[in-house]
Amino acid sequence: MQAAEKKVFERPRTLKEVPFHFCPGCHHGIAHRMVAEAIDKFQLRERTIGVASVGCSVFLYDYFDVDVIEAPHGRAAAVATGVKRARNDRIVFSYQGDGDLASIGIAETIHTANRGENITIIFINNTVYGMTGGQLAPTTLLGQKTSTSPYGRDFMQDGYPIRMTEILATLEGTAFAARVAFTTPKNINMAKKAIEKAFQFQKEELGFTFVEVLSACPTNWGLSPVDSMKRVENEMIPYFPLGIFKERKAADVL
């Protein structure tokens, strides 16, 4: 007799059963799923408070079945700090794009990490401002054409793409910092583990946790979803190497 059929992959409980508004082939959906899976894995849904940022991911509350507060552009890390300080037994995460986190909000990002706030930031780096139509981002690659760098990013004009994970990994308050991508089955698994670890670290109160996700933006890149995935692999990863850049073993005891 054949064993009963079992569901081996299903939508995480924390992710509402509604279609994403993201463009076809956008990696936000994959990152959303992995965050929801991490929340489910540690049974955190009922004590999680999400912080939505300004950008394509602003509708966080439409997809995550958790309490959510919306932050002004760039301020998600400060808002998350406030939430955590008021409710230190809750799990607090913000989800931010590269314009939000690495440009207008870089001060909040760095100081939140430096204070070792026990929160998790999921950082989506797709090298452009997605929601406003593909303008130059702090992470735009050299030579990359965007709607405000029509001749390609030139370091004489716009400086260099910023590597946030490396910067944050240097800070004492950071407990975990990793960069991941979804380009291969191996990378997908690594990404899932990194996001889980970030939430696990927060649960264990080890300090600030940060996961940078290299993400495709087929619409603003003008590439198909499949070609966009190749661009992440062939152009982004060489400049933004994947891996765990900081992993604290235990909470600092001073």
Partner: protein, 67 residues
């Protein structure tokens, strides 16, 4: 025997799943869904191993896997 279920209403036809399926069992179909996308379809030919790579790469969480 494993199989997948693609929720056609969630699918946007990005085709990322078609690139990862080791057995080549997924393709973009010829029909449009309610949102106007040619959605991915599963060819039920019996060689699916239930590896779930298609589901893991799907940006729209449109795939469920049964084993």
């Amino acid at each position: 025997m494993a199989r997948i279920e693609i929720k056609q209403s969630l699918c946007k036809g990005c085709a990322l799943c078609t690139t990862l399926c080791p057995e080549g069992l997924i393709e973009i179909g010829k029909r449009l869904n309610e949102s106007g996308y040619f959605f991915a379809v599963f060819r039920e030919e019996g060689t699916c191993k239930g590896c779930a790579l298609c589901a893991k790469i799907c940006p729209d969480v449109a795939i469920e896997v049964w084993k």
